[in-house]
Symmetry: C2
Subunit: 337 residues, 2 copies
């Protein structure tokens, strides 16, 4: 089947190509009858405007990109739902790009997007992102970016997150109230925004309660499930076993459950566990997992709303500000006394 283009439509209707083009763009100088005829034939012949040519003219792709580290994580899939609901309302398409927590891949994606394939970007950086040159390059091309969850504090734009410090503080305090004195911290590296803020909240709670911060109790995600399990087992089978675990990311809470099963450690009797998590099976686990549940859908929705506000008004700048939406601590059996 040959592709139907403007010429075909014009010939079939006995009109000038420019008339057909303007009719399809709903131009004021074309009569309603002509518009109807053109639209009807375009529809009948399954005519699609050439996106490249049309984008060259309008400089609008009606598309936004969402760059996230992974999707096997319930936080990101819920946040994407929030983003898509806003985009759908605005008539935009959403392209999802995964970095798989890989910095080189994140660089490659941002380089690809520099050429104007999308009108704006919503982004949560990878575990490995310790430098922001690639993000500056994107900004210099006048492509607006809004960060959510894992943000770059040094980039001037809006960052939408949960109250990472306060929630980590409260979560650690919850473990202390439940009787824990030696609390391990399993997290993403501390140069990642959430890693840093959650660690500060954890440390502050320990200090407030006159408990020592023990560097031997800290495990950082290695992006390798087997290596993570090894590291967690090392901490849990050490001389002075912790009696509490604060997992700052869901997958390390799951790793902790697996490690405890393998080592015959009972949760919550021997060790209590709390985790930042949007896991939909948290209440069904054995034992059910105490979580700090982020408003993932709302975070995605808010970030998208801010991006579209700038896309709607041409050249509107995005404020350099922080938007914080509080998380909720849901106590379950994994921290029961």
């Amino acid at each position: 089947m040959t592709t139907v283009n403007l010429k075909h439509l014009a010939k079939e209707l006995g009109l000038a190509v420019s008339t057909v083009s303007r009719a399809l763009r709903d131009s004021y100088d074309i009569g309603d009858d002509t518009k109807k005829k053109v639209m009807a034939l375009a529809h009948k012949l399954n005519y699609e405007p050439n996106p490249y040519a049309s984008s060259l003219r309008k400089h609008k792709s009606k598309t936004i990109a969402v760059i996230v580290p992974e999707i096997a994580n319930n936080f990101f899939s819920l946040a994407i739902n929030g983003i898509e609901d806003v985009a759908q309302e605005k008539g935009y398409h959403v392209l999802i790009y995964l970095t798989h927590e890989n910095y080189a891949k994140e660089q490659s994606i941002t380089r690809y997007l520099q050429s104007g394939r999308v009108d704006g970007v919503l982004m949560s950086v990878s575990n490995e992102t310790n430098d922001i040159q690639h993000i500056h390059a994107l900004k210099q091309k006048n492509i607006p970016i809004v960060f959510f969850d894992r943000v770059c504090d040094n980039v001037d734009t809006t960052k939408v997150t949960t109250d990472d410090f306060e929630s980590a503080f409260k979560g650690t305090e919850h473990l202390i109230e439940q009787g824990c004195k030696n609390i391990a911290f399993f997290s993403v590296p501390s140069f990642v925004s959430i890693g840093n803020k959650r660690m500060l909240g954890y440390e502050e709670a320990l200090k407030m309660h006159k408990l020592k911060v023990n560097p031997n109790y800290v495990v950082y995600d290695t992006n390798n499930a087997e290596e993570n399990l090894k590291q967690v087992k090392r901490v849990l089978s050490g001389k002075k076993r912790p009696d509490g675990v604060f997992a700052s990311v869901e997958k390390l809470a799951i790793t902790t459950y697996h490690a405890c099963n393998e080592l015959g450690i009972q949760i919550p009797k021997d060790i209590k566990v709390i985790s930042f998590s949007n896991l939909n099976t948290a209440s069904l686990l054995n034992p059910s997992l105490t979580t700090i549940t982020q408003p993932a859908y709302d975070i995605g929705k808010r970030a998208a709303t801010i991006l579209f506000r700038s896309l709607d008004k041409k050249n509107a700048t995005i404020m350099n500000e922080k938007v914080t939406i509080a998380a909720t601590l849901i106590p379950r059996d994994s921290t029961r006394q």
Copy 2:
């Protein structure tokens, strides 16, 4: 910052625009020294080829689309990992589109892709997709499609799936061997390929063992979590309560666990549960969930490999065939006698 284009580069170097263009394309008729000079300046000035103009010439976007119903499901996130690993090797970008199990959204995405934004499509259809006109429209534009998991049998192309019929047969037989006589079936609608094949496998196993198929025991996913819970609770609190549940999709197994908790029904004592699932917490649930685990990563990888084979050879047609990769039954506590 103004965008650097070919003209800027040419002026700066005192060369013709066509020379710069050919140097950047590594053309045989340009000397190595000139190429080096052009490349160095392009790199220094952060030059990016205009993707639209360049795509118009080459008719290659070096991009494929993956259309899936959802990502909050471990099967799809693992399959996407398999797809991305192949695409990365081939130097392609992967755009992920979510239909959210909505037919209108799936239509809108395929219409958007008809204009040549991507070179090929990997697709798993939504729960609502009961008609294939939108897929034919895509095929007519010569955009190759390979289906995985949820396929359209009537479209001539390769379909990569697991052994849905056999696995459903074995899973149902497993429940029967564990003592179940009244087995409920919770699934996606039967016009969806996997819904149909898994239902046939379930029914065949019942017949083989001289058990009756009871239409009151069947619940179809409504794409609404609350409604699903209501339906499942209705079946589990009916006069003749089933003693086994075969969930053909993961989320309905999770719904079953929640329903049993609410109704005070004990798994596996009162009712046994098996599910198609790639849930990474299956072994940590209370009780641990017996699963039919699909080779999700391999299914994605195989589908992508077949698509790229056709993209590598211009105009190579994709065979109209089925590729089936077997799933694995992993017995756990939810079906224990």
